[in-house]
Structures are given as C-alpha cells and as structure tokens.
Symmetry: C2
Subunit: 314 residues, 2 copies
Amino acid sequence: MTNQRQKVAVIGSGAIGSYYGGRLAEAGHDVHFLMRRDYHVVHDGGLRVISTDGDFTLTTPQVALSSKEIGPVDWVICALKSTSIKDAQELLRPCIGANTRILALMNGLGLEERFAGWFGPERIFGGMAFTCINRGEPGYIHHLKYGPVTLAHFQNNPVELDIAAALWEQSKVTITTSPSLLRSRWEKLCWNIPFSGLCVAAGGVTTDRIVGDRDLRKTAHTLMEEVIAAGNADLAAKSEQVRIDGLSVIKRMFALTDTMGVYRPSTMIDFIEGRVMEIEAMFGEPLRRAGSLGVNTPQLALLTAILRSLNAQR
Amino acid sequence: MTNQRQKVAVIGSGAIGSYYGGRLAEAGHDVHFLMRRDYHVVHDGGLRVISTDGDFTLTTPQVALSSKEIGPVDWVICALKSTSIKDAQELLRPCIGANTRILALMNGLGLEERFAGWFGPERIFGGMAFTCINRGEPGYIHHLKYGPVTLAHFQNNPVELDIAAALWEQSKVTITTSPSLLRSRWEKLCWNIPFSGLCVAAGGVTTDRIVGDRDLRKTAHTLMEEVIAAGNADLAAKSEQVRIDGLSVIKRMFALTDTMGVYRPSTMIDFIEGRVMEIEAMFGEPLRRAGSLGVNTPQLALLTAILRSLNAQR
C-alpha cells in the first residue's frame, strides 16, 4: 500500500475524533468530520488544536451534518462514545463503499464485533488511543498528554495491519501495531477498569489520588489482576496464541500512572459533568465475559454494579 | 436485680440516644440527656417523639451541657457516632461511679473494646439497635420503623445480661439478649456492610434500589458472605463457642430488606447530607480483622477504599 491521499470520514467528532482526524488532515489526507454540536462554529471558524505535540489549526475543515454528505470513503474512523454504538450502523452506512476500511477508535470490549457483524470482519480495525484529550470551548481541542495509538486488525491480518499503519505514516501520531486486537483491548482495560473505574467510584477524583492512596492503589492492583485473568481466559477461549503478560502489564500500568500527575480520565470527566458514562463496553462486557468463562472477578462485579447505578442517575 | 428506678445518662443525644433514652424516661427512669446542638430547644420546649410504637413527649426532660452536671449514674448509654469514639472517654468519665454500667448503643466493631480498656470490661455492654430513627426539626425525633434492641455483655456474663435487660423491662422497647456480643456485632455488620455500604457507594440510594437491582443484590450477597467468613474466623480466633449461621443470616437479612421499602440507612443519610460517615468502625475494623485473620474479602476491600475516599471529601 502506497501512502496515497486517502478520503477519511470521522464519525463522532468529539475530542478524540477531532484530534486524530485533524492530524490526518494536517498530514494531507482528505478528511471529513461528521459534527453536530460544533458544526457551525467549526465550519465558520475552523478547528483549533492546542497540543503538546505541536498546535495546529484547520482553517477550513470539511465538516458535514450527515454521513450522506460525505459519501463513500477509504477509511471511516469511528470515534463515537461506546454508549452510542447502537447508532453506529446507520451513521456509518453512507460512508461504506466496497473497499472502505473502518477503524473503531473507541473504548471498550466487543465494539469491533458489532462493526464486523454489520459490515464484514475483513475491513474492521480497532484503535487504542492512549492519550488525554479534552474539548475546550467550541472549535477548540486540548491535547494535554500522550497520544500514541495502537492499531490492530479484527482478524489479525498483518497485511491489513500494514495498510492501516500506512494511513498514519506522514502524520504526527505515533503508531504501534498489535498482533492481537483482543489482547490489546484487554490490556487497555487493565488501565481503564481500575483507574477510570476507581476515579469515578471514589467520588470523582484524579488518578494521582488512586495511586497515592494505600487502599485504592491496592484495590487497583487487585482489579488489574482480575482483568488479566478474565482477558487470558477470553484469549484462550478464542484460541488466540498470545496471552497478557500480567506482571509486566501491572508494572507498566502503575509506572505510567505514577508519573501521570493529576489526570482526569474521560469517564471521570463524564461523571463529574453529569454525562452518561461508557460503562457497558468498558466494564459490563468484560464482566459478562468473565462470568461466562467462569473467572471469579468479585471486585469488577462490585465496581460495575456501582458504576451502573451511578450511570442510571445521570 | 429488681426493676428499680435507675439513674441513666445518655451521652450523645442524637436520634438514637434521644429515642431510647426517651423510652427509658417514659418507663419511669431518671434519665439525663447530654446535649449540645438541641440543648436550648429541648430544655425549653421538651422532647417530642413521633413513633410507630406510640408518640410521646417529655415536657421537662433533664438535659445537660456537660457530663459533670449529670455526675455518676447507674447506667451510661453511649449513643455517640462511632466517629466520635476518641471523645468518649472524657465525655463518660464524670458519669462513671464504682457500680456504673455502660451500654454502647452504637454501630460498628471494636467499640466495646475501647470502653473496656478505659473503664474495665465487666461493666461494658453492647446494644445493637435495629431501627430507623431520624432527627426532625430541633426537639423532634421521628421513629419510623422497627425498634428492637439486642443486648450483649462484653464478657458474655448471663447474670450481667439479665441486669441489662431488667433496665428496659417497663419500657416499650423490645429487648433480645445475645449470648455473644462478638457474634451479634458481626451479624449486624452482615446488614450494615452490604446495605449501608452500597446505598452510599451506588450514589446515595435507598435500600429498595439495592435489593431491586440484579447486580447490586448479587453484590450485597457476596459482601455478606465475606462478612460472615471474616466474622466466623474472628469468633474462632477469640475462642468463642458460637458461630454465625451464614445461610440463615443471609436469608433473614434479605427477607427483612425486601420488606423494608424505601429505607435510608443512617450512613446514606450522612452521605447525602454531607456529614462524615461511620466508616472505620463499620467497614475499616472488619476489614482489618479479616486481613489479620487471612480471610480474603475483595469486595469489602474495594467498598471500604471507596467509602474512605468519599469520607475524605466531606
């Protein structure tokens, strides 16, 4: 695959979609942003990104109010919140042509399965963004920290994975490819479940409060062990050849979070700002899989029950 | 022990202290209430109790601003919040004579040990009130539901236990005596830990939300099993002859809570009203004991970590 100019549709142009789509536009791709809330502001005033990896502005970004306006593309980047997954099929459909590929740049487990069911498995990719990006005032995106994206193919096809990586080649985004989407999804959950979960359940606190508190740190560790056990059982059940290296992941996740400072996970921001949180994809689905695989995850069960209850009060 | 008129000091005249002390005054005992916040209102206007077991008013209750005013008594009923346990020694001291007995009508584990250390073990009793009593406007107590008290002696001396029961004989309070204070304290925790704990952690909800939600109900069940395992290990370690009958307790606690309706545990009321919650005596001490006894209580650990964090934000 040569590094040709690709037509890209960003479906769900929140902070993540706008930032990564913006980086692709900056790199010369033909990027179209599906927007609702900020359509007029961005259409008239552009998209401004304040970033630790270099600020940039798209002065005349291509924004659309419907997917039909965009039409078929080479790449769909779906950056919807996982709580909107039920709307994804309809939103994506007009952008899907015979050779369209779809990258789910979202949080949680089981999302690519949904896309594969709708559009066929061979064109589906998952993206794990490790970053802190928030919306500012309309038209402004604040990229505060980190930014690398791990890409994986739904069928773990290395040729397809190279094609996905090529899309980002001229961009400022650091790409890592993963030989196993399922393992990478579970490894991401090794961070999200303990840290996003506890940041919410402990009352809407930042990650430094979790790693800095003896009880909460120990609990994060136990939760991570539960996630690793469930993840490895899931990998084994699906006959994948790879496993999560538990000790190494735990060490890495804590080292990372220890140096993260006062960090607000997106789920915690949703919580304190009164928005619905991404609980089912991030907690419910892992818990369901653990349950059906016979893996005992008592802390994940308790945490999920609490988060679901908090979400029901949104 | 004859049913003589006893001099009683109620230390901590919140809802529980005022209600049960009031019932003793109604029964003819010489009851003195140590009050702070409501002293003037109750001194001038009396204490009014609206109760499912019959309203009553003490028109000229004996209220005091200091324990010294009360002096030595036959019985001290300590109904402080367990968060004030550090103040109890000083508050009780002026009321303790050679033959004074002390009833800790409080929530949590390890409180009687403190009283025993200060004043000697032979005079210490624990009271487990199963009831819903709230303060109303100053001078008003609302007794909404239930009311029985289980009494136990710190050294499980049956003669002492009879003396304690005799105090309440002419009162409207239903008394049960327990052959094991430690077992009764743990059995009370079998309700308090899952239900008070989850009512707070799930966002400040009522007990019907816990028993009516599949996830939270299951979690309450698991938590109860952990408390029972820890309690029985504690009873064994202290060479008590009795054990918690787990299946029976679980059945009883759920049956009770299923018929409880929209009930707000006192800890949940503290939470939603922004007050410090009784976390250490009710969650921290059971967790510490479980840990030192080698009993695995992952859900209790997670719940306690969350509650401590919420409490730290009060």
